[in-house]
Symmetry: C2
Subunit: 341 residues, 2 copies
DNA sequence: GTGAAAGCGCTAACAC
DNA sequence: GTGTTAGCGCTTTCAC
């Protein structure tokens, strides 16, 4: 940087100022400095900057798994938006383990990050304590039902579960069920399931069976869960799935068994993945707006960084959208055909 | 750190030494320091460390898109392995744009990273130049056919294309085709397609049509491409797809049109995604071993960092695996039925 | 095996 | 609008 300053015949602090607030330097000085930077192929040293400023432009982003398409989408849109404001993403994953999360958070804090993005509202005591002792912005994403540390951006998984039950009931299904995987660790999926069960009962429908599996969600597990469901509860008319991969596997399983979807059994997913639109039949799903979560998170971090008044306990509800498709097409009521219920 | 030193009644440099090489400090001193660290809840400052050492433990990882499951898997396994050696992942994505990659690389270099991981062997002149002026390890992943900057870990996309043609030919298909998306940007997909065409011709089969689309690959695009293929080339017996999502869409499209897979048309994907095993019928695919790429990359970075002799121009072939499934089940030769060709 | 001292490249007051 | 100054918290020689 002093090389640049010497070349441009200004002081190092002017170069530093130009780099951080170009508008605070006179246009012509700015031009000379820009030229010197290009000429010397200057690459700044963020470590030195972070040390001097006691804060970096790194943002720690901690998700359970980036193999999960929803998180991948959010991380990507978050990164795009943060990148435009010259923030950088330091990535960590936890596999739904709070102890792992704590370790990742401690590591991230060592970089004196400008902000920390965590997934969900559940964290270990150690994580909370170490976060409380700093005053860096913390954004908790993908959940808003509960107490947040600082800022929360996401939606209510309870409402998703309820909306799924409502949708299946509205389309004329009475015997509902929920299948899902890894619900011991993925507590948000578990809460969607619980809310689904509660709402189904509240609607006066028979209590829906819930079948789970400990493995990470994929179409194979979905097929297995569907098989078990059909065998143990042949009366079921509609299945809500913990996510779209499970739903896809359920659809294939139904096909393999010669069951028509939705006539014999309706299927609904969660996640809004692209294949739900392309499948035969297209699968009804719930869009969580992962990209919006990323964008809003970036916006709040940038605003907070700019000193703008983003209050603590700010909660942004990004909502979700039920997307009805053919896999849950309205059922002709049995009474309409046979005259009985 | 000086607080820790004071508490442990040693000098700061001893604490520093303990943190970097615990074995270089006497066991009892080490124990006292460890106690002080725990007592004071000491969090190191990586910025200061990076500045003083003129190198950080951050590893810049640059992929086209983490929404792509193959890259997500690689980033995740890379991160897991690097994390165990106390390296941290600084993530960037390029959307297959070399100019974007150059910007991301420059940013990453500002962190004085311990290593840089780039995707593929194609980079802009600017990227090459700025990398050449440093001597940090550079690992190029997901491709090994071409000249690498430093270290390459991946597989040959040409061989994948050839293996796909071979597999379809061996299973008795004569009229082949290739469908794929975003092949203008995703040059590795384009090379799989080219090699597929070349090998098909070399096998004495009719030149296969190639149909592409500029959008990112997903099942919907796959269905569209399949539709266009069936309409323009009704004689086609087997389709190779640029990836599994395209193949899934193609399968659904075939179902919708009442075509039996594989009897009327065989389908083969690339990527080894979980749903290929669960679909009806299961889809033949090619496993790229993304997790292995991540692991090997981490291993090489750690070895190079430890001063072990990982030579420049080291190339690790992680290979790939053709997984034959029902969607390309052997075709009963027409001659066996009708006695003619 | 441990400590003293110098300085990494930058930022942020403050003075001009 | 620009320059001067004093560190930021660590690592790294080099003595001891």
């Amino acid at each position: 940087m002093s090389d640049v300053a010497a070349f441009a015949d200004v002081s190092p602090s002017t170069v530093s100022l130009y780099l951080r607030k170009p508008e605070a330097v006179s246009p012509q000085t700015g031009r000379v400095i820009a030229l010197a930077i290009a000429k010397l192929n200057y690459v700044p040293n963020f470590a030195a900057g972070s040390l001097a400023a006691a804060a970096s432009r790194a943002v720690g982003v901690v998700v359970p798994s980036i193999k999960n398409a929803a998180f991948a989408e959010t991380v990507m849109s978050l990164q795009t938006a943060l990148g435009k404001a010259n923030f950088h993403v330091l990535l960590g994953h936890t596999e739904y383990d709070e102890r792992e999360e704590e370790a990742v958070v401690r590591t991230a804090l060592s970089w004196a990050p400008a902000a920390l993005v965590l997934t969900g509202l559940g964290h270990s005591e150690g994580t909370r304590k170490v976060l409380a002792s700093r005053r860096i912005p913390v954004v908790e994403i993908f959940d808003i039902s509960g107490d947040c540390i600082d800022i929360a951006v996401g939606f209510s998984h309870e409402k998703v579960g309820e909306a799924m039950a409502d949708h299946l009931a509205e389309t004329g299904h009475r015997r509902l069920a929920f299948i899902g995987s890894r619900m011991q660790e993925d507590l948000r999926a578990a809460r969607r399931a619980s809310a689904f069960v509660a709402r189904t009962k509240a609607l006066g429908l028979p209590p829906p069976p819930v079948i789970g599996h400990p493995a990470p969600p994929d179409a194979e597990i979905g097929g297995m869960l569907m098989s078990r469901l059909i065998e143990s509860h042949p009366e079921v008319q509609a299945v809500a799935c913990s996510n779209d991969h499970i739903a896809l596997g359920a659809l294939f399983c139904a096909q393999r068994r010669g069951l028509r979807v939705p006539d014999d059994i309706a299927i609904m997913g969660f996640g809004g993945l692209a294949f739900t639109l392309a499948s035969t039949p297209p699968i009804s799903t719930v869009l969580p707006h992962g990209d919006l979560i990323g964008k809003e998170t970036a916006r709040l971090i940038i605003e907070r960084h700019g000193g703008k008044g983003v209050d603590r306990s700010t909660v942004v509800d990004t909502h979700f959208q039920v997307v009805p498709r053919e896999s849950t097409a309205p059922r002709v009521a049995a009474s309409a055909i046979t005259g009985t219920i």
